[in-house]
Symmetry: C2
DNA sequence: AAAATGACCAAATGAACAAAATAGTCATTA
DNA sequence: TAATGACTATTTTGTTCATTTGGTCATTTT
């Protein structure tokens, strides 16, 4: 069987995006890395952006799979949702591609990258939304808007992990977990 | 009595910063607006940045005063802290100077402006910290780290007001209030 | 004498232009 | 028929240089 050129291109692009970022990756470079002519790329993809889109689509698939593994049917809802969130953010922290893309979004703001990050974030929120809706249906938590709830939880986690550390000593996993439990599940009121 | 030249300069600078931003304001412009020679400015201030610092210091004083007015001794803690937060963010939304400065921070990232915004944010957190510590002392809420709690509350509010609206219909005050109560005070668990 | 001033300067900025690089096309090739 | 890389229109980058700017200080005004 002949080599799967499309796959070669996707892998080359992913490697280059991870190493140099989206903007700094040239199509010539991708062609060379994939050992194909540049024209070949355009028989599989409409544009550079479409390559990124396809890569991110499979990235989202991987993230969801990882998040699924984090769920333990024997644990309570609040335990599970915290584990899912941690998985998502650790995925993001441990994969070179996501690190580079988030960095490029903040520092350069390349349009295609901003769009794609938005998709990743929405995918996380949609995933959590499902879990939250289930918990409501099962009567484990109070009625609430699942989308807003997922949004607020994600924003809070991101703030605690990325922004708090800008001016304070970082929080360890244990502390994070306790804070989350206190703020979102038990509430501050005595 | 002679005109207070220092005050004239501060007012001229504040007006210009509000209208054009910090970077786009020139010292010649401030001098002209204040009807003083440029050299005079430097008998009162060491640098352009020092003018901004002094303006923001008094801005923080005003914000704290406004926040203080929002506190009603007859209301419960959670009602009060929500009102204080709303006051802070409305202050920020309704004063031309803060609008311009936050915009310049995001869009240009002028160093002096980034520093000054950080000071404003820390001032809000410190103020809330005090209120939270009081509530803990009075036994109204559970033990918690007041600084982290203030930080998370501010981040959440900002996310709901500024980020949520990017891709969703805005939340009205009533909804915001209910969400805040649910997430932070009562908790999601049944 | 003290306070105020604006001409002046070194450094920063940005407009304008040239050169290089790049995404995407298409006639040719294998 | 699938693959290719030379080619092109458009962006991006690098460079130059006139203008602008924050800040100083010798001079003027009070």
């Amino acid at each position: 069987m002949a080599i799967d050129r499309k796959q070669l291109i996707l892998e080359a692009a992913k490697k280059s995006f991870s190493l140099f970022g989206y903007k700094a990756t040239t199509m010539d470079q991708v062609a060379k890395l994939a050992n194909v002519g540049k024209g070949t790329i355009y028989t599989f993809f409409k544009s550079k952006e479409e390559i990124l889109d396809e890569i991110v689509t499979s990235l989202i698939r991987d993230m969801k799979a990882e998040a699924g593994n984090a769920i333990d049917p024997n644990s309570r809802f609040d335990e599970n949702i915290r584990r899912v969130l941690i998985r998502f953010l650790e995925f993001r922290k441990s994969h070179q591609l996501t690190i580079k893309l988030f960095q490029e979004e903040r520092e350069i703001g390349t349009k295609a990258v901003v769009d794609v990050i938005q998709r990743v974030e929405q995918a996380i929120i949609d995933y959590m939304k499902g879990i939250i809706q289930d918990a409501i249906d099962r009567g484990e938590i109070k009625e609430c808007n699942p989308e807003i709830t997922a949004f607020v939880m994600l924003e809070t986690y991101v703030a605690l992990i990325f922004d708090w550390e800008q001016h304070h000593p970082p929080l360890d996993k244990e502390e994070m977990s306790d804070l989350f439990k206190l703020y979102f599940f038990e509430g501050l009121l005595k």
